[in-house]
Amino acid sequence: MFPRLEPLLPLVSKPVQYVGGELNATVKDWDATTVRWCLMYPDAYEVGLPNQGVMILYEILNEQPDVLAERTYAVWPDLERLMREHDVPQFTVDAHRPVGAFDLFGVSFATELGYTNMLTALDLAGIPLHAADRTEDHPVVVAGGHAAFNPEPIADFLDAAVLGDGEEAVLEITDITRRWKAEGSPGGRDELLLRLAETGGIYVPRFHDVEYLPDGRIQRVVPNRDRVPYRVFKRTTMDLDAWPYPKQPLVPLAESVHERMSVEIFRGCTRGCRFCQAGMITRPVRERSIEGIGAMVQRGLAATGFEEVGLLSLSSADHSEIGDITKGLADRYQGTNTSLSLPSTRVDAFNVDLANELSRNGRRSGLTFAPEGGSERIRRVINKMVSEEDLIRTVTTAYANGWRQVKLYFMCGLPTETDEDVLQIAEMAKEVIRAGREASGRKDIRCTISIGGFVPKPHTPFQWASQCDPDTVDARLRKLREAVNSDRNLGRNIGMRYHDGKPSLIEGLLSRGDRRVGRVIERVWREGGRFDGWSEHFSYQRWVDACAAELEPLGVSLDWFTTREREETEVLPWDHLDSGLDKEWLWADWQDALDEREQDDCRWTPCFDCGVCPAMGTDIQVGPTGRKLLPISPVGQGSPVRNPALTAGD
């Protein structure tokens, strides 16, 4: 259908994002395949394209001979308008096929703010918004990603949801769909969904009924079919070395937010930061081996030509062999203008050797650390165990080694937080500048403090917490800014970046909401809500008004879902969705937070019974392996790839 889309493209901004043609994209013959997936990252192409989850599943599915997978992204409102005017449906960027023609429509939600964009895509695709209105002619709509751990707010729009790692789940869904189609689609759509649900690892919301108490809380969630289990468990892919994806990362023609090749060096994190949903729901830690990492980097650079390699994970410096990995890669790519980055680095794990290895072969950007809380007290509450002394020592060494810019991430609105906790951020930043000037002997060093609003998330110890209201958050941030500016000498070297507290409150509604929130999402979307993750598109008032219209008649409200603290016995909307975390352990950890008691990491101290490993039949997989990256010798001068055809002159 490209010929129908093409005449619209000169009329929209950045048309290159809609034409596909990425290096390493796959276009298969439609008729030669039996199961066809359309994968969506529900945000703009520039954000969605580099998403590792979509890239991994895209490749795994396309490796199956009889399976076809293509991608689609959220279209900007300018193109949406024209598509409606000219009757052009939501399309894939690979072969420009209509999304409505696929068997399965998988949507990956890294954040809840993509919900309205999914509705746009469904609507443009001609797929009924409500799962109940779909027929056998429509794709099965499957949600995945971290937000799928509480898909209740979008339950009405989904046919199914997968919790956890997708590598094996997509193949299982594919197998079930293939068999059902081969049998002649017995029992229609309902039977296919039942077969998915009875695996116990795929959630089909329509097969669970939610009953409410008179006060608005949930009484219980129960299956309404015999074959459907009470609880749905998350998926865990063990042995990352067996899943070296993406092997052929996509390289777009258009610019994207991450112009680099990424290798996931481990999955999961047991640092136990209490605010961090990712760290809670991806347990246990599973490391990729040093050799597996080396092979992925080599193959990925040859396949993409990128100049930067990102070693991704939730806390990359925690890999048991991170020192050998960074040194080995830096040696191997010496002289090839290839730089390495560790996007998520803890303050206490970082050391100067690592920083210097990273900057040896390429560009030096600033260093980023995430103390998350301004005061030691609040850091005990959130279990982010880093002392001010550690932080100052780390950044001082960085400045002394020639780094000029340090970024510090914090949160505002944490449980038990007071103004004093937040004002400590200013003190810390000033101390960083003071110590940095002394260590570097320069006046032009920078420290940027970046502050995000805290949003309580399901499956974390803070799932019961009251979310801080936006007025309080905004007032604290104002006081913080004043405190930073109060010392002109130090303050001029400190930058401050933050957003107001309103978008966080809506994210909080979508994170901890139940099925009743679906009406709010639909109303917001009908009134024009799109791209809620983008401040220029987000309208707080539209959400507030929709909450008033849709929730208050049901006896609940925006505040009820966000700023209300929950009690231990309350049935939470996601209680039937099993992340492996023992609810009693989560509650105990929540109580420890209130008592400012810390919890150690099970990689170095005995198991503290969070429940995941026994519930999921998994175990921690960490090194060290003691092996080295081979070959250690540099690949050569000028290029990270050795091409025998061009080395004859050596």
């Binding site: 030509g305 050569g636 290029s639 990270p640």
Partner: protein, 284 residues
């Protein structure tokens, strides 16, 4: 385009030389890169490498590493003198679907008769005015059957068809250094499939062939079309498709379409001549 090309250099394993400093980058320089939204059959680029390479091996490996539609036609080891000195003008072919050739010819006649034609262009820094006439060395309207500069309408229109919707130019390249020429692949199968649906094919189509000097600020095909609007009120009903057909120094004869091949001198030097590697003055 520049990024796509640099990544292909890396995938192909071309031993690039890098600039010094805090943020090193590969030594790649484009001469008169085509503007956004046009196709090209003739782009030239100079690269610097750290060791001697066989130009044909470089051409082949780089061509293989580039996406379909971007072809490396030729690579030569750079001789004395910079590439920029050998490129003075471009030969453009501009298709105007829906414009009668006679109407176009009259507009072109008026343009050539004018001494100066000021056109406006929107730039990052706001609106600026430039004389589009001054850069036009020659211009004429060709027809399908006599279009001696054309390799057939089908071919060129396909190329433009794919590229005019994109934000980025997809010109092709020539490196020198070991240098080369590339063009867009007109014979690509998917392009053929798409052109069949182009609705304007049945309409008349005026084709303009013009030699335009590479000036600063650059006068682009768009500016020439603006000039036609100024002198003759010519407004194409659909966006025109421009393709750069050649670049080079102006031939003294001044005959339309004859530009001196910028690589002629390098090619004349024996291909077996050993270049002096990194210190070669031509590849600085």
């Amino acid at each position: 385009m520049a990024r796509t090309f640099e990544r292909a250099l890396r995938r192909a394993g071309v031993p690039m030389a890098y600039s010094q400093g805090f943020s090193p980058h590969p030594k790649v320089s484009w001469v008169g890169a085509a503007p956004t939204g046009v196709a090209s059959e003739a782009e030239y680029v100079e690269i610097q490498v750290v060791r001697e390479l066989d130009p044909e091996a470089l051409r082949r490996e780089l061509d293989a590493a580039l996406p379909p539609g971007l072809d490396v036609l030729e690579a030569v080891t750079g001789g004395p003198g910079s590439l920029a000195e050998r490129i003075e003008a471009s030969l453009w072919r501009v298709e105007l679907p829906g414009v009668e050739p006679a109407e176009l010819a009259e507009a072109v006649r008026r343009l050539l008769a004018a001494e100066r034609v000021d056109v406006e262009r929107l730039t990052k820094d706001g609106r600026r005015t430039l004389d589009a006439r001054a850069a036009v060395v020659s211009a004429e309207v060709v027809t399908e059957s006599t279009g001696d500069t054309s390799r057939g309408t089908g071919g060129t229109s396909r190329t433009a068809h794919i590229l005019d919707t994109s934000d980025q130019v997809e010109p092709a390249a020539l490196a020198d250094a070991n240098g080369l020429v590339t063009d867009s692949d007109q014979e690509s199968g998917e392009a053929t499939a798409q052109v069949a649906d182009w609705p304007e094919r049945a309409r008349p189509c005026g084709i303009l062939v013009a030699v335009v000097r590479q000036t600063t600020p650059a006068v682009r095909p768009d500016d020439v079309l603006s000039a036609l609007r100024v002198v003759a009120d010519l407004v194409p009903p659909v966006p025109a498709k421009a393709t750069r057909m050649a670049q080079g120094r102006l031939d003294d004869s001044g005959v339309l379409g004859t530009l001196v091949d910028p690589l002629a001198a390098d090619r004349a030097a024996s291909p077996t001549t050993t270049p002096s590697g990194v210190d070669d003055p031509a590849v600085r």
